[in-house]
Amino acid sequence: MNLIDRRVGLMFASFVALLAVILVRAAWLQAVEGSEYRADARSQQTEMVNVPGVRGAILDRNGNALALSEDAASVFATPYQVENPPQAAAQLARVLKVDGAGLLERLANPDSGFEYLARKVDLPTAEKVQELRLEGIGLLPDSRRIYPEGELASQVIGTVGIDNQGLTGLEASEDEVLRGTNGEREITRDALGDELERDTVDAAAAGADLGLTIDAAVQAATERAVREIGETYEPEGATAIVMDPQTSEILAMANWPSVDPYALDEAETGDLQNMATSFTFEPGSTFKAFTVAGALEEKLVKPSTPFSLPPTITVADRTIEEAHPRGPVTLTVADILAQSSNVGAVSIGLQLNRERGGDAFDRWIRAFGFGETTGIDFPGEEQGIVLPPDEYSGSSMGNLPIGQGLAVTPIQMASAYAAIANGGILRTPKLILEEDGEATETETGERVISEKNAARLREMLEGVLEDGGTASAVEVPGYELAGKTGTAQKVVNGTYSETEYVGSFIGFAPAEDPRLLVSVVVDNPPYGSHYGGTVAAPAFGEIAKFALPHLGVAPDRVPAAP
């Protein structure tokens, strides 16, 4: 072997040795330290981003949005990465329009690795934050709830929490439908931070829209009327329900005081509740219609059946008298309803139980749905209180026929009156029209009284709004109205109060073929203006004046010449 061959051999051996070293090192890096380097590289190059599943919108019956979600961003900080906290706090405070001291407190915490600086800011604001290019300040994609109609139907729509979860109202009860599913995305960046690849790890899914039976325009008119009650009489609360009695679809459900959905912190807990479904009260005279309905169905009376009525009537230890003292009088059943005679209604109730058994009255009021929830698609509905006949005291039948000694909710009253208005069919009040574009089921309902007796009742209830009736001041030009006033004493410390009342009115129009039913309940208006005919009935008139033409309901009578 000559010199050249030896050198070549040496070089070859060196290369082989070098290759061996490289291979060993490569094996070491890959097999032993590989996982650590892979993790480091992954954390430097890739980023997992949460993609929020946008919550579905809540729409009125005409597709107008009452609540919807828009994309937003949450601003966060990694405090130990922030180079100049006071300067960063000052810059961010200007953009976010928040207190700089509060921001600085969070930015200056060196032990914290993550701090939220602002939640759910709008996109233009988020863009301004990004333009500041502050080290240690970042943005997380988020979404936020928008209420284009402001306070409209706020208690019905309900509220969502900071993580877009439903808390109250329909937002809570329909959370499964509305809630979107958050997704996750992996973004790979190059050394300069430019995006190289984006992989969807979990796809985000938007929540479904919810279509309500509510009509935003009718709701607004109803809220105006209820607000007027609130501002005029300053009661503890007021609520109104507007319903299509033919289908039991709720067109409006308003409460006073209303709640600003953007300022929930300022609202009192009680104000967040929907009085229409949660307020239980003794209905008073509005209940007399059901006493008469039972007697009509049992064929004990007709609208023209006369009753000779003494000034008062005593049942066990209880003496019932009229609101205004009078002498002995003979009133027909229609007069008893129109003039809201307590003695007359008690007489009819007593006759019902006397001739058809001790539980006849109870059967009839339960047939109208009292004593149980209506089943409306709304959370927290109260069922009211209806005592079973075996728990009656001797004087119970002196109370019950006039709407005392039992408790109902406004929605129960509206639902039961809808049965009278539509010809005798009791249906579950309907609040949800569509889920994700698909119509919800329409209930056929259950007949509780005959069509003939329902018509008789409607005719009798027209008398309430005619001359001599308890709501004669209310009129809607062009339409025959029917309804019933109620003024019930509140029970305070087990005794009927002399100063605290619940005034109510339930009416419908056109009287012969009702297309609109309005129930107004006012809790504890000031004494003196506490009558249902004074405090609640005018609101019915105001709502009907707007809603009837709006819904295209043709007048059923020629307006009287001025």
Binding site: V54, N64, L68, E70, D71, L123, P148, E149, L152, T188, D194, E195, L196, E197, R198, A217, Q219, A220, E228, E282, G284, S285, R318, T319, I320, E321, A323, Q339, S340, N342, I385, S393, S396, N399, I402, G405, L406, A407, G469, T470, A473, V476, P477, G486, T487, A488, V491, G494, T495, Y496, E498, V502, Y531, G532, G533, P538, A544, P549, A554, P555
Partner: protein, 224 residues
């Protein structure tokens, strides 16, 4: 290489020469099935082994064309990776733009809904001088069979034409109220504006509470 290839070539011939001897050996009974497989495998191995030494393969592998082919393949692989990265980056950018547009859409939808809110429409209508008509003032027409005939007649007469453009009635601008400068002007303005009909009459209707003032015997403990 050529020498080796030449040396290997006679091998199959030698095997072929050995075969007749095998045929001469006495066999108790023909059992083709078990022997067929090893023979086939052996022949295949020989044939495959011979491919490397075949003239065609030798010509191909010694060709300078391979340099170009391999070079192209290497460049192609690199280019493929570069393209893949580039497409990824571009797709990522497009996805980013799509996300951005979706976000903008969501914000715009919220703006539209806000602009179409009932309250704003009412305010706009009010500014334009529109009012909600009194219920009795709305005239409803009942269509009947004669309407179609009447419309047909009007079409024939040319009084109405299909597809004719709707001409809206002229809009009368509502003059803004002049600034009140003196009490006399105020009085005039006040008298010209019709007083709004009060919705609620002050006269209370006949009240209807069931009032005795005594403690309720039944249901007295109910707190509404």
């Amino acid at each position: 290489m050529p020498a080796a290839a030449t040396a290997r070539k006679p091998a199959p011939r030698a095997r072929r020469a050995a075969r007749p001897a095998a045929r001469r050996a006495p066999r108790p009974a023909p059992r083709p099935a078990p022997r067929l497989v090893p023979v086939a495998v052996g022949r295949t191995a020989v044939a495959v082994g011979g491919i490397a030494d075949s003239g065609l393969v030798l010509r191909l592998t010694r060709s300078r064309l391979w340099i170009g082919v391999l070079g192209s393949l290497l460049v192609g692989i690199v280019a493929l990776n570069v393209f893949a990265l580039s497409f990824n980056a571009s797709s990522s950018k497009t996805a980013g733009i799509a996300d951005e547009l979706r976000r903008e859409n969501s914000a715009l939808r919220a703006q539209i809904e806000d602009g179409l809110s009932n309250q704003r429409l009412l305010q706009a209508a009010s500014r334009a001088g529109l009012i909600v008509p009194e219920p009795g003032a709305v005239l409803y027409l009942d269509p009947d069979a004669a309407d179609a005939a009447a419309a047909s007649k009007r079409l024939r007469n040319g009084r109405i034409t299909i597809g004719s453009e709707y001409v809206p009635p002229p809009v009368v601008p509502i003059p803004e109220a002049p600034p009140v400068t003196d009490p006399a002007a105020t009085a005039t303005a006040t008298t010209e504006v019709p007083a709004e009909t009060p919705a609620v009459t002050e006269a209370p209707p006949a009240p209807d509470p069931a009032t005795t003032g005594t403690a309720p015997a039944a249901g007295g403990g109910i707190t509404p």
